[in-house]
Symmetry: C2
Subunit: 308 residues, 2 copies
């Protein structure tokens, strides 16, 4: 029994000032057949193409905040969808204030888009579920940056339970709907009056997985409450520990702080990114974080990381 | 006696739909120490960096029209100037309608820029001089595209005349100001009452050069009047001749049409670009044009072409 695909392709892991060969923030999160785009810095459409992401599967875009290095790829990507005659609606989640300038800018071309955009503008405190499908739900949580910023948690719903074939063979043959009920965790009552107890004939094989995107933000230990037990955390690590004052001042985090939060939250793995262009190599970021949280990966653009 | 630098670096020579490894429109025109940016498709700042253009010398940006593939790199470039703490004013020339959405979008970052933008919005008929320095003047001319579009002509002013040392030795020694007057083409009247006739002691060594940027537009033979005798013409050649109906319909040109115009205008060289992504190679464009106008170059990104 294998887990269905749940992995993230890094499209850009640089910060606002270009440099060091890194691009501004963007990620493609793959779950089953779906692709979710998280942030969309300039040139994201080029990277989607370069890294062979199936971008016609993108139906939701989640924007953390309205700094240019997280949004300036949106006009180009949406225009290209239009030139490709996309018809399916796209949903864009972001802090309030994106719709106006984006629509204004897209109008300069003199045409209306071939598809509808559903703008979901966020302006809430605390955690809030903003989207869900049969398989996944997405929460948006305010972070601590210079302007309104949201982190996103992508949480799998429960996987279907596995049938214990040998145990089930002791009961009369079940039909398709009855089997489905068992997989969903329900008992089945047969016409004969007999009961098929779920706990006896099924087992839980797959744990639900989760992915959190935490960028850009200052470090706060309190985030460990909401991140507790998550599978994979992506946390910004703009600076190294020796610049922790600068991180505080500019509302960013250090690699060490990202690792502290991962440790406090008992996540399984930590991805760090959003590196300042002053660092040509980020091996130091990885080392600094691994001293506190060994299962840390300093991400590289074009690489895909499994949510495990 | 050498000509001072006058050359153009191609940053992007693709059209609106991405593909074939080409990027959207942008060029860096170098003249003496100045760099002028012409159009600014998405990712232009990356290409400026990649091709080592001295972008802090850019003080003027000329935008042909407001389709996304000519402007979506502006927000990122201006933001990067800001992050680099640029203080010098920048002038942006474009058809009316760019300032509003750009300023709106740049405001989402929550900060005002470190430098001033002077917006020069164009809305005129016929040819109009929109900028000049001691050495160069720039005219904007309406083209024929789906939305308001301007071509730009960069015209050198007269170069200083060269002193004929032997001829001049027959006159008393001149001071610095008097020599400068001669180079500017003026006669010099000595205190003795003697006259130094300019035509006798100087000669014109360098012809003034000129560069025209003609994109995006339908072909019109009438443009040859204004382009007459220009040095180098850059003309869009989105399609090949077999798609001339499509070119007409979408307000674009073919390689053959670009060459026809170059021939009619008696320019010295023709650069063609803005190639449709349907063409993996543009050797056919070059061949088609060269049959009519031999001195044609199908441009390549990252290459620099002299204005000769």
């Amino acid at each position: 029994l294998n887990y269905p695909k749940f992995e993230v392709t890094i499209l850009g892991c640089g910060s606002a000032t270009p440099g060091a060969g890194r691009h501004p923030s963007a990620q493609a999160l793959h779950h089953f057949q779906d692709v979710f785009l998280i942030d969309c810095g300039e040139g994201t459409q080029d990277r989607l193409k370069e890294f062979d992401v199936k971008w016609n599967r993108i139906n939701q875009i989640f924007i953390s905040h309205l700094h240019g290095d997280h949004i300036f790829g949106l006009p180009g990507l949406l225009s290209t969808f239009h030139l490709n005659r996309r018809e399916r609606k796209i949903q864009i989640f972001s802090p309030t204030g994106l719709r106006g300038p984006l629509e204004f800018l897209l109008q300069t071309g003199g045409e209306s888009l071939s598809f509808e955009i559903e703008w979901v503008e966020l302006n809430h405190e605390g955690s809030k579920k903003v989207w869900e499908s049969d398989r996944l739900e997405v929460e948006a949580i305010p972070l601590d940056h210079r302007i309104s910023t949201y982190g996103y948690i992508f949480r799998e719903k429960e996987h279907p339970r596995s049938i214990l074939v040998e145990e089930l063979s002791r009961f009369p043959k079940l039909n398709h709907l009855q089997l489905r009920s068992l997989k969903l965790g329900l008992d089945v009552h047969l016409e004969s009056g007999e009961n098929v107890p779920n706990a006896l004939v099924t087992e839980k094989k797959l744990e639900a997985r989760s992915y959190a995107y935490w960028s850009d933000t200052r470090y706060h230990s309190e985030y460990s409450t909401i991140l507790s037990g998550m599978t994979t955390l992506y946390h910004e690590a703009t600076f190294l520990d020796y610049l922790k004052d600068k991180a505080q001042l500019t509302y960013h985090s250090t690699a060490k702080e990202a690792a502290e939060l991962a440790k406090l939250s008992h996540v399984k793995s930590l991805l760090i990114g959003h590196f300042s262009s002053r660092y040509a190599s980020v091996m130091e970021h990885q080392k600094e974080a691994q001293q506190i949280f060994p299962q840390t990966f300093a991400v590289e653009e074009g690489k895909t990381y499994e949510v495990v």
